[in-house]
């Protein structure tokens, strides 16, 4: 079973995302802070990362930068999944190496899973 790391600080959204993604055939690993996220990416064999942008301590941009700078993690697909919806946020994320940027309120979880499936295959 392929592993997906969800980096999300909102417990409620994390619960919904995990349930749906898990039922679509992925093993869900989660992290709620930047430090925890980096440890888990390095420890586990992660196939894809779903990354929120507004997080405590280190924000999603910093985590993304760190992922792309680290040899062992730099080629893992990262989907930014956030409600920061301005073009400048999207451009910044893409410039830092995000694979895709999806706005939470504009996507159903089914659509998110379609994106995940395409990137993992």
């Amino acid at each position: 079973m392929k592993k997906i790391l969800i980096i999300e600080d909102d417990d409620f959204l994390l619960g919904l995302e995990s349930k749906k993604i898990n039922s679509s055939g992925y093993e869900v690993i989660f992290a709620q802070t930047g430090e925890d996220a980096m440890n888990k990416i390095l420890e586990k064999d992660i196939s894809i990362i779903l990354l929120d942008l507004l997080l405590p301590n280190y924000d999603g941009f910093e985590i993304l930068k760190k992922i792309r700078e680290t040899e062992a993690t730099k080629s893992i697909p990262v989907i930014i999944f956030s409600n920061l919806a301005e073009v400048k946020d999207r451009d910044k994320a893409l410039a830092l190496g995000a694979t895709e940027v999806l706005i939470k309120s504009n996507f159903s979880l089914e659509e998110v899973i379609e994106h995940i499936n395409k990137l993992v295959k």
Partner: protein, 247 residues
Amino acid sequence: MDDIQKIKDENEKLKMMNENKSNLIFISAHQIRTSLSALKWILKMFSNKELGDINSEQKDYIEKAISSNERIISIVNNLLSLNHSDETCLTLNLKQVNFPNILEKIIFEFSGETKNKNINIVYNKAETLTPEIKCDEDMIIVVLQNLIENAIKYSFNDTTVTISLTNNSNSELEMSVHNQGIGIKDEDKMKIFDKFYRAKNAIEKDTNGSGFGLFSTKSIIEKHNGKIWFESSKEAGTTFFITLPIS
């Protein structure tokens, strides 16, 4: 000298107030979107019967709740764009963008809606076109979404929506969106861009509109020194036109 310093200080204060206002809106919008996302996903789970069986009446109500939630998401997006277009805002986030690229993406995003109503979208792009304009991309996306969504929403089933893009004689970018739909009645024509105004036949066709879309669309276009107008009749449907300066 004191007077100049006083004006400078006042200016700084205003800038700070404006920044605080923008931050407040930014945080509120993020929180609202987060709640709406959760609601969207939960309702979808109910609708898909992932949380247990539901009867047809329950399904019907859940679909209405989904539609209502989508409407609120759309209002939040519109309000945010309008906040950016507020006169008190310091500057627009202007940059050089390729207009047809944005337009084509938005047309693609509506392919699900057009399929549901069996509407054919015809897209005519002038062969010689200066495609680059300087604009706030976020706002222009809202304009295009509003115009195309309205064209589809108020079309009759099995008809065509025609979107044309050209440079006009004033060397502006001119786009028109034509539908074969319910049309705008004469008594509504003067008020169609008013905030929260909705024509009676529009309410009958779609109860979920906010009456905010065309108001924000007009505000955004005018903020970009562009123009917006329409032609409409019961027989021919409606065409909305917008122009935007090239540079």
